[in-house]
Amino acid sequence: MNAIVETAWDPSQPIVALRDVHKSFGKLEVLKGISFDVMKGEVVCIIGPSGSGKSTLIRCVNALTPFDAGSIKVEGQEVNVAHLDKLALRKKVGIVFQQYNLFPHKTALENVMMAPVLVLKEPKDEVEARARALIRKVRLEGKEDSYPGELSGGQQQRVAIARSLAMRPDIMLFDEVTAALDPETVKEVLVTIRELAAEGMTCMLVTHEMGFAREIANHIYFTDRGVIVEHGPPATFFTEAKDPRTREFLSQIL
């Protein structure tokens, strides 16, 4: 794969650029031409009713879901190509899921260490030091040797975030990472994401936490039935929504 010379990406250009992205599952068209840009260090929130295609959209960015037409460029590299260098893409983009999806047979520390050791082939002691630091960062010191089954949902989710960060991604995707959590534990996960955003991590997050979106997002996109209905910076988005669908959604959720 090294034979392909990577065109150097200019950081003043969008770190993620979506253009007219289309995706169907059989007859069901889930994404009907989605376009937007994410700049380095930006936090973008995607909101919208259930089934509107938010997960599908976010999964297209790291090629977990292949899409039919359009273009997604991550750091200038096209994702929608036949012989995609998936590994290169996955190193750049981390994802955290609603259901944490930790490896249940590995301790918290092992979960965080696994990919850097296997994929990046970094020395174990180096990875371990980094993994321990990450576990401290997500405030789970003392839980290094616990198995996922012994942790609360919020704790598992923070291990999942640490696991993703251990790969040193440039972009983090969060797909409703607090949706499965008890209200009390939602906060501890949001604190972690807020810190990440403050450090300048580029984040795309699907969320139903409107207060949180308003606080940390640079830009909010409202999707419904596969299209972006409305978008804007939080300052104006919540107060000046024009489309009736956006208004209805916001009135239900706020």
Partner: protein, 251 residues
């Protein structure tokens, strides 16, 4: 002490001609049984190991994106699962054995490269391996797709995902079924007698062919040995199962 036991069974054989425990007082017969026992253990251990390897590799191949690979594995499973192991042993040894090359260690006698013991190991390993493929595959299917997806999104390769995520989780699910199949395999090693593999049953049958009064005693020994042998296997497996148990996960 030993002498008095031997004397007791020698006397018992005199008074009760159906209960001639000849192997307890005749060192020659005892040695035959020792050899048979070693062969049975050897056969069991080798077949268990190979059949598990076949199961692991076969389950991996079943996840291949190449249709012909999956079909081939499916064909293998159908053949070995749906035909009697006794026939498989005969077929491997007599039919395939004809076509395997021979060598001559002393420049005189031609010896086949694969002995009857070798064929028994191959045949029985493939027999049990076919079940193991299915057992592991069922275990793999029990692993949530989302767990695999998480590994995939971390950049792990297909082989790494299989080795470090799927297999360890599938194994835990598969252990009870694997247990049963391996017990069955150990018992099936007795069928190697049809291609004259000198395992325990072969030796015992030879003994009671020579000393017909020893027949009952030989059968009794057979039961005792297998109760102990399978008992050890089951104990080992359940200890392993306990060791693999993950805190806070599964039943």
């Amino acid at each position: 002490m030993l002498q008095s036991i031997q004397d007791y069974f020698r006397a018992l054989a005199e008074t009760h001609p159906h209960w001639n425990f000849i192997y307890l007082y005749d060192p020659v017969q005892a040695a035959r049984i020792g050899e048979g026992l070693v062969m049975t253990l050897e056969l069991s251990v080798l077949c268990v190991l190979f059949s598990v390897v076949i199961g692991v590799v076969g389950a991996w191949l079943q996840g291949s994106h190449l249709t012909w690979v999956r079909r081939f594995v499916q064909g293998y499973i159908q053949f070995f699962r749906n035909t009697p192991p006794l026939i498989q042993l005969l077929f491997f040894y007599f039919a395939l054995g004809q076509f395997t090359p021979t060598y001559s260690p002393d420049g005189w006698l031609e010896v086949p490269v694969i002995s009857n013991v070798g064929w028994a190991v191959i045949s029985l390993s493939f027999f049990a391996g076919a079940f193991n493929v299915e057992i592991f595959r069922a275990g793999i299917e029990a692993v949530p797709e989302s767990t695999v997806e998480a590994a995939d999104s971390l950049g792990m390769s297909r082989l790494q995902i299989y080795r470090y995520v799927l297999l360890p989780l599938a194994f835990r699910v598969s252990l009870p079924a694997l247990n049963n199949n391996l017990v069955n395999l150990v018992k099936t090693t007795t069928q190697a007698i049809v291609i004259a593999v000198p395992e325990l049953l072969y030796q015992l049958v030879s003994i009671y062919n020579d000393y017909s009064t020893a027949q009952n005693a030989c059968m009794v020994l057979m039961f005792v040995v297998y109760v102990v042998l399978v008992g050890i296997l089951v104990m080992g497996m359940s200890r392993w199962e306990r060791r693999l148990r993950i805190p806070g996960y599964g039943g």
